[in-house]
Symmetry: C2
Subunit: 306 residues, 2 copies
Amino acid sequence: MIDQLVANIKKTNAPIVVGLDPMLNYVPSQILDKAMKEQGETLEAAGTAIWEYNKGIVDAVYDLIPAVKPQIAMYEQFGLPGLEAFQKTVDYCKEKGLVVIGDIKRGDIGSTSTAYANGHLGGVQIGSKKCYGFNEDFVTVNPYLGTDGVKPFVDVCKEEKKGIFVLVKTSNPSSGEFQDREIDGRPLYEIVGEYVSRWGADCVGKCGYSYVGAVVGATYPEMGKVLRKIMPKSYILVPGYGAQGGTAADLKPYFNEDGLGAIVNSSRGIICAYKQEKYAQFGEENYAEASRQAVIDMREDINANI
Amino acid sequence: MIDQLVANIKKTNAPIVVGLDPMLNYVPSQILDKAMKEQGETLEAAGTAIWEYNKGIVDAVYDLIPAVKPQIAMYEQFGLPGLEAFQKTVDYCKEKGLVVIGDIKRGDIGSTSTAYANGHLGGVQIGSKKCYGFNEDFVTVNPYLGTDGVKPFVDVCKEEKKGIFVLVKTSNPSSGEFQDREIDGRPLYEIVGEYVSRWGADCVGKCGYSYVGAVVGATYPEMGKVLRKIMPKSYILVPGYGAQGGTAADLKPYFNEDGLGAIVNSSRGIICAYKQEKYAQFGEENYAEASRQAVIDMREDINANI
C-alpha cells in the first residue's frame, strides 16, 4: 500500500492528504436541515449529515489528491450512527481510488493491538470465512506501550499489504510534556523515531519507502529535520499545516531529496474552506467547490516550498 | 461516578472489575453455532454471539461485582456489528447497576480528544437536543500527547460526573521501552503519575478519591508502590492479574490503608473460566456459572492478600 500511496502522490503531484474530520457546525445548513427534517434531532441525522457532507467534498477533490485521512473521533462522537458514516466514507474513498489513512491512534497490549489491527487493516476469521471490519489502508498508532503494542499492527500490515504511521512528535502545544523529555541527553521523540526506523526496516516497498511511517507535526520543523534523518525510509505524515499554525515554508525538512517522504494533512483548511473569507464567494451551497479551490491552492503553496 | 464506584466496591466487598473482552474462540459452541446458523459466517453473527455470551456472564456475576471493563478493541475487530454489541453490553451493564469502564485508551490533540470524550462520556448537541453516544461511566486515556490531550476528558467528566483512568505504567512486557526511561534520574511513568495527580487534584469526590485515576499493571508491584505514593488520591485500575502473571500477593502496594484506592481487573480468568481445568466440571454449557465461581475465588484470593 506504500507503493500505491507513492504512485498516487506522483500521479497527482500533490503530497497532500485531506483530513475528513467533520464537525456538525462545518456542515452546510442545506444538508444538516434536510437530515434533521427526515430523521429528527438524532445521532442518525448527524451521521447522515456528515456522510453527505463528506461525499460532496470527496466528489469535488478526489482527482486532485492521493489520499484522505478521516479522523475516527469525529465520527465516534456520534456513537454507532457516526461510525456507520465513517465506514461509508472509507468505502467510498477507496472506490474513488484514494488511499485511506484511518486516524485512529490506537495502541494497546499485544493481543488487544492485534484486535485493533484486525478490525482496521486486516480481517477476522468467522467460521470458514475471513470477514473485514473497517478495512482502511493505513492507520495511525500510539507507541506508549512499546514494541508489543505496535508489532501486531506491523504483522497485519505484512500480511495484508497495508501500512501504519506511528505517533512520534505530535502537532499539539503540549506534546512536549512527555515527548520532549530528555533521556540520556536526547528527547523521547528521537528514541521513538529510532524504534520506528527499526520496526520498519524489513517493511520496505518497491518505492524504497517503508510501510511503517511516522507522524511528525508541521508545528515543529526543527524536530522534523532531525527525525527525517533518523527515519530516512519512513514516510512522514505531517499534521498541523494551516489551521494549527504550520506553514509551507516549515515543511521542507520533512521531505527527502527525491521530493518524496512526506505527506501533509489539512483538515479544516480544506473541508471548511467555504467559511474562510478567501473562499467566501463560493457560498455555503457550493462548499465542495470551495474545498476544491483550497486543495489547488494548498498544492501550489506546498510545491513552491519543497 | 467515583463515589458510585467506591459505594459499589464497599457493597460487594470486592475490589474487582470483570474485563468483558470476548474473543470468538471463548464463545461456547452452542451460542456461536446458533448465531452463525441464523446470520451466516458474518460480522453480524459474531456481534450477536459475543453479546449473548456477555449477557450470560453479566447475569451470572452482576450481584458480586462493582464494575465491568469492556475492552472496545475486542468489539471493534468485528467492525460495526461488533460495536453494536459493545453498545448493548454497556447499556445492559448499566441497567444492572454496574459501573462501566470503557477500556478505549483514546487520546489525541485537544479538539479531537473532546470528540472522543463527548462520544464516550458526554454527549453532542444536535439541533436543540443533547444526544449521547456510547455513554460509559469511565474510560481509559493515553497520555502520550500531554495535558491538552487529557484535559478535554477531565472537563467532560466534571460536567457529566464521569471519570477516567490514565495509562501510567501498563502491564505488558515491553511497557518499559518508553515508560521506564529515565528523565532527570526518574522514570517517565513517575512523571506521568505526577501529572495524573495534578490533573485530578480538583476532581475529588465525596469518597475522598479523585475521578482522575490511573492504570498501573499488576505485573510491576515495585512501581505500583511508588506510584501509590505519588498519586494518593487517584484510584488505580490494575490490569495484569491472573492470565498475564500478576498474583494477589503483588497487589497490596496498590491499595491505601483504608483498603480502598485500587480495583483489580481480570478478563480471561473470569470470562473464560470454563476452559480452565479448575472449573472444567461446569462444562461449556454452564460457562456463566464457571465465571461466577471464578469471581468468588478471585474475591477471596484478593481479600486475603490486601
